[in-house]
């Protein structure tokens, strides 16, 4: 377990190409913060699912615009937890967390948020000051 705090961040346009950069950043945090295999699986899975959701739903498409949208991600590795915060200025997203459930076996999509909720301790979303703000908390297992 890491005994000091680690912070990593990235700002990039809301393009799917940025997903690999987010993934590299999460991998670097997990390496630096000496996370256990199970905590890494939980945190990496949740962060990538939320990043996918942002790329899929927040990229501004209505009205059509060439104006680039961007996101900012900050990752923290602390002795007791791993956290992520995404802020994006894309289309406002409305999430009803109570309505999220794991789709059936033959579904080809729709598992992302359910998987994020199943892997970490907290996933929250709010829309404030024109930004979607997602927070993920993964408390380290003993």
């Amino acid at each position: 377990m890491g005994d000091h705090d680690t912070t990593l961040s990235l700002r990039a346009p809301l393009f799917p190409e940025a997903l690999e950069q987010v993934h590299d950043l999460v991998a670097r945090l997990c390496d630096t913060a000496s996370s256990s295999t199970i905590d890494r699986i939980r945190f990496e899975t949740a962060v990538i699912e939320i990043a996918n959701n942002i790329m899929e739903h927040s990229r501004r498409t209505d009205p059509p615009s060439d104006e680039p949208r961007s996101f900012h991600i900050v990752l923290h590795g602390r002795p007791d937890e791993l956290t992520a915060e995404f802020r994006d200025d894309g289309r406002p997203v409305v999430i009803d967390f109570k309505a999220i459930s794991m789709p059936g076996e033959d579904a080809e999509a729709g598992r992302g948020l359910a998987l994020a909720l199943a892997t970490v301790d907290e996933v929250t979303h709010e829309h404030r000051d024109g930004l979607n703000i997602w927070r993920i908390v993964c408390r380290r297992s003993a």
Binding site: E44, I48, A107, G112, T119
Partner: protein, 112 residues
């Protein structure tokens, strides 16, 4: 960048091997590889995950789609050698019962 190798064994089984991350970025390549094998007459397909570092829900979706298309073509899709992360998300989504991972490509079509 995720690479996919595609082979056909002497037993007539197609083997797709994703090397790297199987995510929203690369899942379409898996779907294309499955379609390519089926178009070539190979509907029994093993996805060799021994070099797959990470999979997300898009990768799972591509596997479910592949399972349907292979079965429609009279074949099947099986998984081999997933790592702990892949096994974890298969269990959390209950897809371990449908995609039933085996330890190796050789075992993927041993039973049935």
């Amino acid at each position: 960048m995720t690479e996919f190798t595609v082979e056909r064994t002497e037993r007539g089984i197609g083997v797709i091997r994703p090397v790297g991350r199987l995510t929203m970025v690369s899942a379409k390549q898996l779907t294309e590889a499955v379609a390519g094998l089926i178009d070539g007459g190979t509907a029994r397909i093993a996805v060799d995950l021994s070099a797959t570092e990470f999979m997300d829900s898009s990768g799972l979706g591509a596997l479910v789609a592949g399972l349907k298309t292979t079965r429609q073509a009279g074949g099947d899709l099986r998984l081999a050698a997933p790592n702990e992360q892949v096994l974890t998300i298969l269990r959390l989504t209950n897809l371990d019962k449908v995609l039933r991972p085996r330890d190796s490509v050789d075992e993927a079509f041993d039973r049935g």
